[in-house]
Assembly symmetry: C2
Homo-oligomer: 335 residues x 2
């Protein structure tokens, strides 16, 4: 780094034109003659010039930055380690880049509770993508009603004043359960916390499928973590023995926790207990037995999230949207 950072004015002097011209040329403004544009762009490249984003953000009042907030409830610890959450952040990153936007990563622990203020008023970002509804939607609601451009990854069927993009959780729960039934399971456990928005929909789907089959539902309510699932199933086995022959788990990580408890007692999967997870994380395919799961189309969802955010930025009003899901049939439910 030899010398002081070049600025627009320096470049202009070098080229013998005004700063306006350089500015326009670099932004590919058709007001400037094509030939001049090319020349100036080359000059900029040659001198390793790049615009000072602070200055241009100040002037244009736009940042081209989107804040992504990983929304965890303080108490129930679906930890930041859940591969699924992180996977979706990765996908969102890709989707944003495709639209020339950058990603400011944040989480619900920092940044206080006033998102409108912290991210938008301060011009840190143009809009917000919230990953996960959490148990309380208060922060989201507050930001949305403050007029912040905002989209949420969550359960699209939740009534809300802001657009939610997410999987058809009801259908997912239903398909998974019907699949277990079709494979001969009679006593199917729902493993997860129905107090959580997305999971409550999965639970509804589970219930409807169970009822239609005239079976009896049974819920084991636990946090969305493997270890909670492990403990939950263990405890159930201790107290009541093997009183079930199927599990619909609210996430793959939860399913793996359950699997461990079962395997330790030499309960065969899928023969004694059939199992379906949710999310289809990479591990589902590589575990043994491999885990049947409801696959969420995170890639498509991410693109939709970004599109809806952009639509809001141009003043359009947008609706929640469901993205399709798919049952991935593997060994854990096959018999």
């Amino acid at each position: 780094m030899n010398d002081r950072k070049l600025k627009l004015a320096d470049l202009a002097k070098l080229a013998g034109v005004s700063t306006s011209t350089v500015s326009r040329a670099l932004n590919d403004n058709p007001l400037i003659k094509q030939e001049t544009r090319d020349k100036l762009q080359q000059l900029a490249k040659k001198h390793n010039f790049s615009l000072n984003t602070a200055a241009s953000r100040l002037r244009t009042q736009k940042t081209n930055v989107v804040a992504v907030i990983i929304n965890l409830d303080g108490d129930t610890e679906q930890s930041i380690n859940d591969p699924f959450l992180l996977k979706i952040v990765g996908e969102i990153n890709l989707a944003l880049n495709k639209f020339g936007l950058e990603l400011l990563l944040s989480n619900s622990f920092m940044a206080s509770d006033d998102w409108a203020n912290y991210f938008i008023n301060s011009r840190r970002a143009d809009g917000i993508i919230v990953v996960g509804q959490g148990k309380s939607q208060a922060n989201i609601e507050a930001a949305a009603s403050a007029g912040v451009p905002l989209v949420v990854w969550g359960d699209p069927k939740t009534p809300s004043s802001y657009p939610i993009v997410g999987s058809d959780n009801y259908l997912g729960g239903r398909l998974a359960t019907e699949h277990l039934l079709a494979n001969g399971a009679k006593n199917i456990l729902f493993l997860g916390d129905p107090g959580h928005a997305e999971i409550s929909e999965r639970h509804r789907g589970y219930l409807d499928a169970i009822n239609e089959a005239k079976a009896t539902p049974h819920v084991v309510s636990i946090d969305i973590t493997s270890s909670a699932a492990y403990k939950g199933i263990n405890q159930l086995l201790v107290e009541k023995g093997l009183c079930f022959d199927g599990i619909m788990a609210c996430s793959d990580m939860v399913a793996f926790g359950a699997m461990k408890a079962l395997k330790e007692r030499y309960i065969s999967i899928p023969n004694d207990v059939a199992l379906v997870g949710f999310d289809d994380i990479a591990m589902a395919d590589i575990s043994h037995p491999s885990l049947s799961s409801i696959k969420q189309n995170t890639q498509r969802a991410s693109v939709i999230l970004v599109e809806k955010l952009l639509a809001q930025l141009t003043g359009q009003s947008v609706e929640s949207q469901v993205v399709e899901i798919e049952l991935v049939n593997r060994q854990s439910s096959q018999r």
Copy 2:
């Protein structure tokens, strides 16, 4: 959002003081009388005021933003899904927040190759944290020699002009191998690509342990993914049968791929083949059998990364640093 965004000048008018005073008060500058400071800070809170970061970044030439680049090689696909990479990003995020910094997430696919230019000259960020060395360090080297404040998560023993923070990979490889030997394994496979910086150190540790035990080394070189590991082990079994009784895998995900191939052929873990992974991701504890692994202290490493970056920002020169590792002994290696 009722009215136009408040600015410093508006607040000043409300309070009957100058903008300088408000600015200083909000930044807790001791030049301003404590009483005035309190009053103005309350006023700001009351009106939901927050500073325009674009303006203040322009004026101060500081952003308080750090770019985190996930550095994947285009070809060898240690995909963005590897939970370990994402875990460390989470930890870095926490560490940055602790120091009042924000995290701009990026990856080596976007942002061109000229990081100095794209992130620093453009004043998008004050410094860069690179996660992963990848196979080629050209981009990192270029940015570092352009004078960019930069730290890398990788193998600290790699000679470099920039500071690298990471685990003692040599020791990790050695400990894992010695542990397998101590548990009676005689023919231990190294599963991973020694062309990769961190893994080459693990490989060295493996080699030294093997040689000291007068055993013969055997490397199965594969990409850092479960599926590559699965295929690799499968192929080996097909071609040569069960010619090994221990595996030191270069990552947990790789170990799981190997486990799957073994389990499918009813090869017992740990009795027929003992196995140790690397990273200690959440899944290691929840798999069955649970996976012994070398645990990297990502939390401590993240704090160190940030501290070293801050040190650079204040002009100090900093060195690479090793963070301790730990063997977590679980079922997969126990006999």
